[in-house]
């Protein structure tokens, strides 16, 4: 486990993002807080529309104009949430960078990959054309692209999806950023390539000490690479803790639901898991601050006490917190089922 250091790399505190649309406001992110230590991998997990990507965009100051963020984002103690676009540009790509889900469209089709990686270096580090190219080759080596020396002059359409995602990673880590935001980096790739990409990210964190925020809905990825996990639901943090604790001992019914919806061959063979559990319903769109638990309409444990207020995150075990009126492991539900 990562040792707590005196100052976290990235600290997000009470982050809110509100969208003002023609149909009224939408509360996309509601009081998300987390801290990321050097070399740590934090996973943001949740269904589509739960505010994961918006959290990342808010960190980078790249929300659309209709969005109003509040709360603070501190990069090594320095509050970057109120910076101007000019100041943020100096941070983006150099201190915080990001990789996207779609490797097929994340590279500009009209430039060679070497040019695109080199551009970031030329901009932020003031390298010349030749130096940037040499660095680009090193970076392609780092992300394990074979024969980087010739590949550097290829165009994106000459590469496969996995290869392009590696180029994206090379581009993102070109300036050795302190924090890497990875928005579903493996979702569009097939499973063997996924494993390679995760390997590369693990190496990066070890060799460069990069802290990674991994945004994903894939719990397999979380278990594979993350140290800590933040489970998000409707813009709120539902549960947070170390991956070991949350996976071994989930407390929030939503986390339980997510874990239950993953196929587990071992459990199927042991006749424990007959069919995949689903969570009925969809993530609600919040228009007003909730007066009840946001998960209550879909929750098997919901009762009157859940409808009085939105529960706050409370510690359920050392290093693990859940926002639930009735936290507890899955057994609680089984007993419930017996009683009914």
């Amino acid at each position: 486990m990562t040792q707590p250091m005196n100052q976290p790399r990235l600290e997000v505190e009470d982050l809110h993002v509100r969208f003002d649309t023609d149909e009224g406001s939408v509360l996309a992110v509601n009081g998300v807080s987390f801290a990321l230590q050097a070399g740590e991998v934090l996973a943001l997990v949740g269904e589509s529309g739960c505010g994961k990507s918006m959290t990342a965009m808010a960190i980078l100051g790249l929300l659309p104009p209709t969005a109003t963020p509040s709360g603070s984002v501190r990069l090594e103690g320095r509050d970057i949430s109120g910076l101007s676009q000019r100041e943020l540009r100096a941070i983006r790509g150099r201190e915080i960078s990001m990789i996207f889900q779609e490797p097929m469209t994340s590279l500009n089709p009209v430039f060679t990959v070497g040019h695109q990686i080199g551009e970031v270096l030329r901009r932020h580090e003031g390298l010349g054309r030749k130096e940037a190219r040499a660095r680009a080759i090193e970076l392609l080596d780092l992300v394990r692209i074979p024969s980087a020396r010739t590949r550097v002059d290829e165009y994106p359409h000459q590469m496969s999806g996995g290869m392009r995602q590696r180029v994206m990673i090379a581009m993102a880590v070109a300036c050795n950023p302190k924090v890497l935001l990875a928005d579903e980096p493996t979702t569009a790739l097939d499973v063997t390539i996924q494993a390679q990409i995760l390997d590369i990210m693990r190496d990066l964190r070890q060799e460069l000490g990069t802290s990674i925020v991994m945004i994903t809905h894939d719990l397999g990825v979380v278990a594979d690479i993350a140290d800590r996990v933040v489970v998000m639901y409707a813009g709120h943090v539902a549960e947070t803790g170390t991956v070991d604790a949350v996976f071994a001992n989930p407390q929030h019914p939503y986390t339980l639901g997510l874990l239950g919806s993953v196929p587990r061959p071992d459990l199927v063979l042991a006749d424990v898991q007959e069919r995949l559990a689903e969570i009925p319903g969809v993530v609600p769109t919040l228009r007003q601050p909730p007066t009840e638990c946001v998960f209550a309409p879909r929750c098997p444990r919901a009762d009157e006490s859940c409808l009085t207020r939105m529960p706050e995150l409370t510690e359920t075990a050392p290093g693990q917190r859940a926002a639930c009126v009735h936290p507890g492991p899955a057994e609680a539900e089984q007993k419930e089922a017996v009683r009914v």
């Binding site: 790249l62 790509g93 990001m98 996207f100 551009e119 993102a172």
Partner: protein, 292 residues
């Protein structure tokens, strides 16, 4: 002449050879390219190609028919050699066409791109002004502007350019509007690229294809426009020859000397056709959706 078409290929570097092959497979496109090359070469070499000075009149040989001794295409009402005037007139017509289109591109593309990228208050302003300009028929607007600016080749080109700006603004704006949502543009933003770099280094090369194709449509339109303006006396001034002025001069002699009007008309028609065929071919070759 075949060597001309081979040397003047317009395909961009690197993927050039692939595009050249695709282009060569379209006979109409090759014909168009050939025609464009001929016009350009004639315009460039006009003083050397023309057998006579374009304004040298020979009063002993007025309205000679084509094939008369010394005058391949005949002569006009004051005995000027029609071939020479046609050849030298290529310069004015092509200049007006190309200059007008270039001016339009230089003004319209940044404007459209900025409107499409920033949206906000600037987009409705640019779009509505574009709509207003577009609501005037192309030639009426050009004629009106040329009349205000006064007759000259440059003013004719400016008037034609203004009339062409809206189409280029629309294309640039629309393309940027869709590009700004693509992930590689997002990636450039995330990597800290300033807006200027995003617009002109990341986006511009990606919207070149539709712009090039629009240009090959705009150039012949401007050539016709220039002909109309000089026909109306708003373009190139005599004695400088231009295809439009030649047509205008020939107007009164259509029954006596039909060839007088035929050849400049033919030149306009063939040049327009060449640019159109070439543009169609370019569009097919460059269109991403048609790439395998």
């Amino acid at each position: 002449m075949t060597s001309i078409s081979a040397t003047a290929t317009v395909a961009p570097a690197r993927r050039g050879s692939r595009l050249r092959r695709r282009f060569a497979r379209r006979p109409t496109a090759v014909i168009g390219l050939f025609g464009v090359c001929v016009v350009v070469v004639v315009a460039l070499l006009a003083p050397w190609l023309a057998p006579y000075a374009p304004d040298a009149s020979d009063y002993n040989a007025i309205l000679q028919p084509p094939g008369s001794p010394g005058h391949l295409l005949g002569t006009d009402d004051i005995g000027r050699d029609l071939l020479s005037r046609l050849v030298v007139g290529t310069r004015a017509s092509l200049t007006a066409g190309v200059l007008a289109t270039m001016l339009a591109v230089v003004v319209a593309v940044p404007l459209g791109m900025i409107a499409g990228y920033y949206r906000g208050w600037i987009d409705p302003i640019v779009s509505r002004v574009t709509d207003v300009v577009l609501s005037f028929p192309f030639l009426i607007l050009a004629v009106g502007l040329a009349a205000i600016l006064g007759p000259s080749l440059i003013n004719a080109a400016i008037a034609l350019a203004v009339s062409q700006v809206p189409m280029f603004v629309r294309i640039a704006r629309g393309e940027v509007l869709s590009l700004r949502e693509t992930e590689y543009v997002q990636a450039a933003v995330v990597n800290g690229a300033p807006t200027r770099v995003i617009l002109f280094r990341h986006m511009l090369p990606n919207i070149l294809n539709p712009l090039i194709v629009q240009a090959t449509v705009a150039i012949p339109a401007a050539i016709i426009g220039a002909a109309v303006l000089s026909f109306l006396g708003l373009g190139v001034q005599p004695p400088t020859p231009a295809w439009g002025t030649m047509l205008s001069d020939a107007q009164q002699y259509v029954s006596q000397a039909p060839w007088f009007a035929t050849f400049p008309g033919l030149a306009i028609a063939l040049t327009t056709l060449s640019f159109n065929l070439f543009g169609d071919g370019l569009r097919d070759v460059l269109d991403v959706r048609m790439r395998s």
